[in-house]
Amino acid sequence: TKTRENIVSGMDSIFSGFSAIDEDFYEELEETLIMGDMGIQTTMSVLEELKKAVKEQHIKDPSQCRQVLIDSIRKKMDLGENAYEFEHRKSVVLVIGVNGVGKTTSIGKLADQLKSDGKRVILAAADTFRAAAIEQLSEWADRAGVDLIAQKEGSDPAAVIYDAIAAAKSRNADVLICDTAGRLHNKKNLMEELKKINRIIDKEYPEAYRETLVVLDGTTGQNALVQARQFMEAAPITGIILTKLDGTAKGGIAVAIQSELGIPVKYVGVGEKIDDLQKFSSGDFVNALFQSDTRNKGE
């Protein structure tokens, strides 16, 4: 599996480059956090906490700030105890998000993981809108070796969900994962469609454990917070899949989302291959925020 390299060294350079905790030091930290897409508000509040700790604990050395900062952001990214409960239950995982963020790909990867753990998985191709979306998911189903429930392009996504639930029950599936079409959160009719899908799952499969994941592109800036907020209104969001962290973007907006909305990141996408999905590690994530050049290509 991939790991984020050079993490510690990159981080050290910020904290050892300063000899005193002064305005310049705080400014450098501010710049780093904002450039990681954490947003102004969250950055300011994190730095306020740091300043408070520095005062209270009489910290004099910038390098000591490192752990304080890590701990404070990590605390914000806490997963909670039952984060992966759905893996052990009969569950329905609904996957939603704006266009092109990596929903279909992440579903393929997740299906593969669950299947490897011995689960019986079914995928529902409820993106009936985008060109070749069904063929794309079908290819992932093949790769993971799991079943796919699909209808024709252009058919009613709600009907696909309906079918898929019936199949999940009759085939005694452990996990049903539903792919949906990408939709921008400001499109009323598309968000209504999502609410309808959500209602159908509730109504047709009430005994299932519900997991609803919003997929966020790690490259996205401040708009991701707006996205998360809007998707929360359409379905009971239980977690985030933060994708494309194999690039140079840091995905810092996830910190803002979790602080403000309480939605935890549960998985991160680190590539296009089937095993490029990892469970979220707050330690890796926070370290990478301070890393000047995130590269984890190759190993």
């Binding site: 450039m35 897409d37 060109a131 290819e139």
Partner: protein
């Protein structure tokens, strides 16, 4: 919403200034702090914001506080003018060769940016203008990428050239241009796979395509919701491959789209069109002044200023 807060904040900063004479350095500094926040909230790159603020600062200090304008609006006016200047002051069309020659356009960008969709949109647009376009399926990696291009090609009535997934994109591109010659097509769009700008092997592939066929226009497709990373992405694609123009997608969302400013300032290349939806007709001209207002988050205040 966002517009009120920036405008209100600026009015507050300048509350007691009206008619005071000239804007001092201190006045302007306080005001520009608010502007800086607004730009950062719009995802303009931190470094670009810094440069921008210092150039505005220079211009704004010593300006007369006109009686017709509140000082806040004066600053906004200068900020807006500088923003528009940075965005490029006019709309640009993609440059095509004469009808009797083949123009090759290569579409590049990160994964999921909207390349395949935008390729079909562009082809449809130029077909309507009397060109004879063809799409070439050079993405052999993404599952069902070829099928996606074929479906979209059919929707806009443009032929799609493909050689399956077992040929190299370089060979596909070469064969596509040959095929276009035979078929009398005079506009070839190469739909390439999404790739990270730090993925050396995949970047090299684009370089090789450019060596193998004569690419007239390389178009970088960027998601308008991109955050601080936009400078890295645009900068690298431009340095390594060379970018002639940019298309911003998904502007039908509610992002402020500060990435536009970052991309423009780091590449100096024009933004050609904007994607305004998933339908293949949802491609629009890019207007720098509208984008500037959007980034500042204040559509209406500009007309206010113009009247003042």
């Amino acid at each position: 919403m966002a517009f009120e807060s920036l405008a209100d904040k600026l009015q507050n900063v300048f509350k007691n200034l009206r008619g005071k004479g000239r804007l001092t350095e201190a006045d302007v500094k306080t005001a520009l702090k608010e502007v800086k926040m607004a730009l950062l909230e719009a995802d303009v790159s931190f470094k670009v914001v810094k440069q921008f603020i210092s150039s505005v600062q220079e211009r704004a200090v010593g300006q007369d506080v006109l009686t017709s304008l509140t000082p806040g609006q004066m600053v906004i006016k200068i900020v807006n003018e500088e923003l528009v200047k940075l965005m490029g002051s006019e709309t640009t069309e993609i440059a095509l060769k004469p009808q009797n020659e083949i123009t090759v356009i290569m579409m590049i960008g990160l994964q999921g940016a909207g390349k395949t969709t935008t390729t079909a949109k562009l082809a449809g647009k130029f077909k309507a203008k009397g060109r004879n376009p063809m799409l070439a399926a050079c993405d052999i990696y993404r599952p069902a990428a070829i099928k996606q291009l074929q479906v979209n090609g059919e929707k806009v009535g443009v032929p799609v050239f493909s050689m399956g997934e077992n040929n190299s994109p370089v060979n596909i591109a070469k064969a596509a241009v040959e095929h276009a010659k035979k078929e009398g097509c005079n506009l070839v769009f190469l739909d390439t796979a999404g790739r990270l700008q730090i993925d050396e092997a995949m970047m090299e592939e684009l370089v090789q395509i450019k060596e193998a066929v004569h690419v007239d226009q390389t178009v970088l497709v960027v998601d308008a919701m991109t955050g601080q990373d936009a400078v890295n992405v645009a900068g690298s694609f431009n340095d390594k491959i060379g970018v002639d123009g940019v298309i911003l997608t998904k502007l039908d969302g509610d992002t402020r789209g500060g990435a536009a400013l970052s991309i423009r300032s780091v590449t100096g290349r024009p933004i050609l069109y904007v994607g305004m939806g998933e339908k293949l007709s949802d491609l629009e001209q890019f207007y720098p002044d509208r984008m500037a207002s959007r980034i500042l988050g204040m559509g209406d205040i500009l007309s206010l200023i113009e009247k003042a």
